[in-house]
Amino acid sequence: MTATHDRPAERVPRPPRAAERPARRPLRPRGLSGTALTVLTWAVALVFVSPALWMVLTAFKREADAYTDPPRLLFTPTLERFATVFDAGILPHVGNSLIATLCSAALVVLLGVPAAYALSIAPVDRTRDVLFFFISTKMLPVVAVIVPLYVAAGRLNVLDNIWTLVLLYTAMNLPIAVWMLRSFFLEVPTAVIEAARVEGASLPRVLRSVMLPMMAPGIAATVLICMIFSWNEFFFAVNLTASQAATVPVFMVGFITSESLYWAQLSAAATVVSLPIVVVGWLAQRQLVRGLSMGAVK
């Protein structure tokens, strides 16, 4: 059939799954009511997203154009507000956020993939209990642990240290990540693994060359969700960091306080700090859907 079909992994018959029913095609609109629905959908979407559009628009305004009644749609755009954001020294904080986001995502994968493996493909006893434990730690509000964490970080001299946030974000995202990864791994056909084992491949080798390629989309989806939550996290960041390790949400708050609340300025800063994750999320929409639905849908 196709060129990919001569890969050995593809030849193993996959067990039928409910999810492999022929995909349903979205209903095709007919005639006038279809057009009306399309117009309605577009209108609803534009109204819903208007605060974000307004933010981007306001970011290009002079402050005088931001405070008008009625609100002004037409104006002479300027990049001055963005220049101010960068002049305020945002870049080191972007660096901090990148470290916190990327390193904690890497740690989540490092810890979460083996754990999810042990809970799905080679399930241990009491799998339900362990899963239950993981998700129940998510029920633990962060406010309930912030005081001891603050005291401990102070004693260990790791306050205002970006690696403290890396560890905490890993702990924050690990429970959900284990759940998501497990759902994805349940989709991996075990026949493939058994076949490779029978042919004498060692377990690490099976993991690396057979399983990892099949798991990659699920891992990508999980990493994406973790990145969104870490980049946007504020509570740990504001309580455990100061000038050195502050991430972008903390910078944003300090910037607004020191610059007072000028709307165009605020909008420009909001646009800049949100842009990285917005772009990543846009590009990886499919993974986002898979991750959020815990792999329930392809």
């Binding site: 997203v49 974000a52 083996p114 129940s136 972008v248 709307w263 909001a270 917005v278 329930a296």
Partner: protein, 306 residues
């Protein structure tokens, strides 16, 4: 079966079990170290009188902190607000999410663009979202919401100070609706075409089909969205911190904000720890019920698939 093989097999079983468990241990140990250990410390603190403004004030006081907070009007109001904010945010964003997902679940011009636009609020920094809603949206003089509502005579309402909880919920709903929408959309797209066609053949109306076929199919996705949404929204701190600072007074303070205030502005470690413990107990009671349901739904569907 001879008597000697039994223990040997048990030993082999045990070592195999440990080999199976080994990949799980790092994650388990890490999670226990960073979440359970601090929580034990919180329980310990909650039994002591410890105010950072009074050095050397640390002493064991038993349940005195609990007695103090359970009669503390501010704590009780914050608990009410937490329930109110979480429930209304999850409910409204789920209903909006279902509506948007149904609109998106058909082929039309620019579907990809519309979906991209609609997920954006979930991706924007929540701190920024809160600030933008407080200013450019809800400002009584220049805000967009006031401008749109002025024909209704609501043009000059100072939303953030007159209706602080409503304002916070509005920003939270805006942020969480895309999350619900994506989940429900995933659910809609996993629905079999044959079922829909059968319904159409039987002459069911669009509404009947939605209520009788689609909604039951979506149940699992709705439950998952409610659970995950509630877990995150209960912990909301940034939106309240940026929009209202819990005010005016303590009108819009929820539990996370109140605990933060008590610990980092009031320096009363003992009382804030006791509040934390009460929150955990409350959350677990509510969540256990919800989680049992979801667990059943999830594991039973896995068994069906297997």
């Amino acid at each position: 079966m001879s008597t000697t093989t039994v223990p040997r097999r048990a030993v082999a079983d045990r070592s195999r079990n440990w080999r199976h468990r080994a990949p799980l241990l790092p994650a388990l140990v890490f999670t226990i170290l960073l979440t359970q250990l601090p929580f034990l410390a919180t329980i310990w603190y909650s039994l002591r009188s410890w105010n950072l403004l009074r050095p050397g004030s640390q002493e064991f006081t038993g349940l005195a902190n609990y007695a103090a907070i359970l009669t503390d009007a501010q704590f009780l109001a914050a608990a009410t607000n937490t329930v109110l904010i979480t429930a209304s945010c999850v409910l409204v964003s789920m209903m909006l999410g279902i509506g948007l997902a149904v609109l998106l679940d058909r082929r039309f011009v620019g579907r990809g663009v519309v979906r991209t636009l609609l997920i954006t609020p979930f991706l924007i920094l929540p701190v920024a979202t809160a600030l933008l809603w407080k200013t450019t949206m809800l400002d009584p003089v220049f805000g967009l919401v006031g401008f749109v509502l002025s024909p209704l005579g609501l043009g000059e309402v100072d939303w953030a100070s007159s209706y602080p909880v409503l304002s916070v919920v509005a920003a939270l709903v805006w942020q969480w609706t895309p999350f619900m929408m994506l989940l429900i959309l995933a659910g809609l797209q996993s629905q079999g075409r044959d079922v829909i066609e059968a319904g159409q053949v039987d002459g069911a109306s669009a509404w009947q089909m939605f209520a009788m076929i689609t909604l039951p199919h979506l149940r699992r996705y709705i439950e998952l969205g409610v659970l995950l949404g509630a877990i995150y929204v209960i912990n909301t701190f940034d939106t309240i911190y940026m929009m209202t600072q819990g005010g005016p007074g303590t009108a819009s303070a929820n539990l996370p904000f109140t605990i933060y205030q008590r610990a980092f502005l009031g320096f009363d470690v003992g009382q804030s720890a006791a509040m934390g413990v009460v929150v955990v107990i409350g959350t677990i009671i509510v969540a256990l019920l919800a989680l049992r349901l979801i667990f059943r739904a999830f594991l039973s569907s896995e068994e069906q698939n297997a």
